[in-house]
Amino acid sequence: MNKTPLLAVAAATSIAAILSSCSTAPSGGSNDGSATITYAYWGNNSENATLTAMIKDFEQANPKITVKANWIQNDYLQQLQTQLAGGKPPTVAQISNTDLAAFASSFKEANVSPSAYYSANIPNAMKIQGKYYATPFVAKTKVMAINTKLWQAAGLDVPSKSAPMNVEDFIANAKKLTKGSGKSKQYGSAPLWFGGWLTVNGGNNYSTDGTRCTLSSPEAIQAANQVIASQAKDGFTPTLLDAQGQDMFDWLSIGRLAAQPDFGPWNIAQLISLKNASDFALVPDPGNGEPMEVDGLAVTRNANQAETDAANKFISFMSTNQQAQERLTTKESSLGVPVVQSAVPAFEKAAPEQNLQAFVDAVDQSPITASVKANTKISTDWQTALTDKTPIGSGKQSPASVLPELDKQCQATLDAAGPAIS
């Protein structure tokens, strides 16, 4: 009998067995403290450059630890979820406070020291059911950019740099700033976003502990009515159709908008590069301000002890090291607002002629929105329903009749999803 086929099968089986046994060796770390960890994050080119520079700083300070950057440019959450499901997650994952609940069960508990941060809102954003699952490293607050020339031309006082306007005053001023018609019409404000305007009015999507939906609150109904009135014929913002495909920052820069209430730190570099940058001022958002996003760093559960130790060193560096935090915002780009006080002066130096302190103040302006597991589904459902059923979009029903319905639907989804950590 020819033994060639049997030999081939035996050889293949042996190679496979040898390889399988090789693979049982632990990877990622060793006893001398050296380790290689992976770090997954999202962002555009300039944000990637900032984070890469922070990684280099860390590796210089910790030569035994290598951080492999895993820059996910699109569909970050989907890719992170897939990596987790495939058993190949990054050692450290960047995560925003709004998405934390959906991923918390994949992360190790974090050792966060609240006193390291200048506002309790910052560490609190990383808490799920009373425990920390990520360490904050950047805050993304919103302020209002205003065209001071247009305000002065309308005979209005330029808003205070530190005290937020009340909502009624903002609306009254925005109406006065609206004039003209057609393609040269000047609007008092950029379109209002219901989710943002809800917190401006003191409302929120969920109760503080994230167990109840609060979409039928009087604040929510008031916010929805204000958004509808703002885009009516006699309103003070462009309609959704007017704004379709348009860059609102461009409109602000050319004087078609007198104010942009959802101005984020990522717009700072754009603002200071304008020839007429001195025409603009940054002031707090009206009322309770728009919700901020806090991005944290979490260690995934698959990490072994050596990787976890290295990851914790890296996270601590990114979150509290002054040099690292100072890199977050420069004249060229901004990832967001630093979370430690020692880096705030450097943040403000990025644009000394602008009131960047407003971004820092905004950290305390509104309470943190609770992170809930089914947040994406709930947000998608209510945004679709609000635009379909009320004049915020193409509907005709009043928010007072629609929002209680949405609240019930929201509560059902919230209950079905259950707690983030069971």
Partner: protein, 353 residues
């Protein structure tokens, strides 16, 4: 990293292979192991006379494809069938749900909306695309100077990828600044809000789909050039005019091509996704007006992380496409003309005495 590929890379590291080449080396090694195993099994089967050498050669030659199909298509399909009976968000442990996901789909009003939108799109767009591409192919099937330029112009849009095409049409159909409403305004008509209007979003996507008929046109053109010229000559001698020749010769002769384009077009239309994704991302498609089935499936899988439910939706879609395709196949007996009265007859090997 997968333990097996990790082990392979470790072996290659010991052998001194450069780090950049290790993944490729691991792939080559893994392929060699699979090929050796396959070769061993087939050789054994030949030695034991379980199969002839010709059959063995067939299996060896198709084995790379078989391996790819098993790993990348059939395997995931079986896995998704299993997933459809689970509740799983990819992060937490999965829970067995039985037929729960299918029952949920049956009661979900958004599934009904997704089926309605998808079917309307398929039933309207496929006949329109078929008629237009055949019409253009007939126009292009002439022998005049510069016809290749026209053929190229018609074909070019089909080279534009889905996302680029939709981005372009977001501007074409922009209510305030778009080309279409600009032209309508010039003739005194106030155009609709297109993608922003629940009543016009789907018609706009159907119109958009006609922009890429060039791909089908090329197939029809090939079919038209295959029609025997003698048939037209005989018909002309018998006094048939152009309309008669079209109806009685051209369409029957190219009916297998029409059938092919209708079947593939229908399957593609049922799987439409990119248009809804890009338009929705740009703030359009209100009132679930572009809630195509695959888009809803995607939302559940990758936005809401309901993998079990999304897998159930995928199997429902497969069954719907299967049913529609079978329907078209059954109906084809009435309108598709094959040169042999019995299409199977032509496939039979002639008997040699």
């Amino acid at each position: 990293m997968n333990p097996i590929t990790g082990g392979l890379e470790e072996v290659l590291r010991h052998l001194g292979l450069a780090p950049g080449l290790r993944p490729l080396g691991a792939f080559v090694l893994l392929s060699a192991v699979v090929a050796a195993a396959m070769f061993g099994v087939v050789s054994l089967a030949v030695r034991r006379r379980w199969m002839s050498r010709t059959t063995a050669a067939f299996w060896l030659f198709v084995s790379p494809w078989m391996f790819g199909f098993a790993v990348f298509t059939f395997g995931p399909m079986v896995y998704s069938l299993w997933l459809s009976f689970l509740n799983w968000d990819l992060v937490s442990p999965s829970r067995f749900a039985g037929l729960g996901n299918y029952q949920k789909a049956a009661a979900d009003p958004l599934v009904r909306q997704a089926i309605k939108v998808t079917l309307v799109y398929a039933v309207v767009s496929v006949p329109l695309q078929t008629a237009l591409s055949l019409g253009v192919a007939l126009l292009m099937n002439t022998d005049i100077r510069g016809i290749n330029v026209f053929r190229t112009v018609w074909y070019l849009p089909s080279l534009v990828t889905g996302v680029a095409q939709v981005t372009l049409f977001l501007w074409v159909f922009n209510p305030n600044y778009g080309l279409v409403n600009g032209m309508l305004h010039a003739v005194g008509v106030d155009g609709p809000a297109w993608f922003q209007d629940p009543s016009w979003a789907l018609p706009a996507v159907i119109i958009m789909s006609l922009w890429t008929v060039g791909g089908n046109m090329v197939i029809y053109l090939a079919g038209l050039q295959d029609v025997p010229i003698e048939l037209y000559e005989a018909a002309s001698i018998d006094g048939a005019g152009p309309a008669r020749r079209l109806w009685s010769i051209t369409i029957p002769q190219v009916s297998p091509v029409i059938f092919f384009n209708v079947v593939t077009g229908l399957i593609a239309a049922m799987q439409i996704f990119t248009q809804a994704f890009v338009i929705k991302s740009a703030g359009g498609a209100p009132a679930n007006s572009l809630l195509f089935f695959v888009y809803y499936l995607y939302q559940n899988a990758f936005q809401f992380f309901q993998m079990g439910y999304a897998s159930a939706l995928a199997w429902i879609l497969l069954l719907m496409i299967l049913a529609l395709t079978l329907l078209v196949f059954r109906g084809s007996a009435f309108w598709v003309y094959y040169e042999s009265a019995n299409p199977k007859a032509s496939r039979r090997r002639p008997r040699v005495r």
